[in-house]
Symmetry: C2
Subunit: 152 residues, 2 copies
């Protein structure tokens, strides 16, 4: 059932991408298919170079420029989110829908990234934006911390 779930998930992502591309008059090409597959198989937050390596393992003819171009495209189509963890490069993560919205807690010592979701936080952010006279369209939130030492 787990396998089935994953299979459905991938098919879902691919067909959603295909639908969105068609809708916008864009082509479903081999590079885009491969990149979409790599994204749906990735549970982490790869940067462009890491995506490039994973994509090359499947089709070595795909270029880094295409990774960047496709990430920009997928971002506009709300298929991926671009993240910034404070090192100089952009990270990308698949965005299946509003239901898997989350934030990141980054261990500044190990670089480890923990994802979390907090409804209270969501409500508060929306309220703050509203109070300032804004409709919230996006937000960045990253917490940086060190693992708390147990008191002996």
């Amino acid at each position: 059932m787990v396998v089935e779930d994953e299979a459905v998930g991938e098919a879902g992502v691919l067909s959603r991408i295909e639908a969105l591309c068609a809708e916008k008059g864009l082509r479903m090409t081999e590079p885009r298919r491969v990149i979409a597959r790599v994204l749906s198989d990735s549970e982490d937050h790869p940067d462009a170079e890491e995506l490039y390596d994973r994509v090359k393992a499947i089709d070595s003819s795909i270029s880094l420029a295409t990774i960047y171009r496709t990430m920009k495209l997928f971002e506009e189509m709300s298929i991926v989110s671009k993240r910034d963890f404070g090192d100089g490069r952009a990270r990308y993560e698949r965005k299946s829908g509003p239901e898997d919205h989350h934030h990141h807690m980054i261990d500044v010592e190990s670089g480890e990234v923990i994802e979390f979701y907090n409804q209270e936080l969501e409500d508060l952010k929306k309220r703050i934006a509203h109070d300032l006279g804004f409709e919230l369209v996006d937000h960045h939130l990253e917490l940086f911390g060190v693992r708390r030492k147990k008191k002996h």
Copy 2:
């Protein structure tokens, strides 16, 4: 009295920088003095190039490399905060103390930046980090939004 406050404020910032430099065995040079002055006169969130322009207006011999080196130094000394508003470059803002901690609401249509502070948010972030087993050392939060249209 407002004028007096500002005068005290600026002097405070400058001497604080000088004190911190001395404390760390660093030298108070002309470039550092000029950059400190520009920072304390800046109410906005300039990037390196903008700082460079403002600094050059006072002393044209100061180089961009020195802006970067000094920003890194001042960041380590907790004199400035480095911010990322999603365009590719770092922004800097003076940090007078923990009391003027705040976040940013960015108008995605005009690029306007509104600063805000919310105690509830501070508490919540600390609690989230704590629940995840972390001691919060830093955080990034930016809200992106569009001005809400009044319902006629």
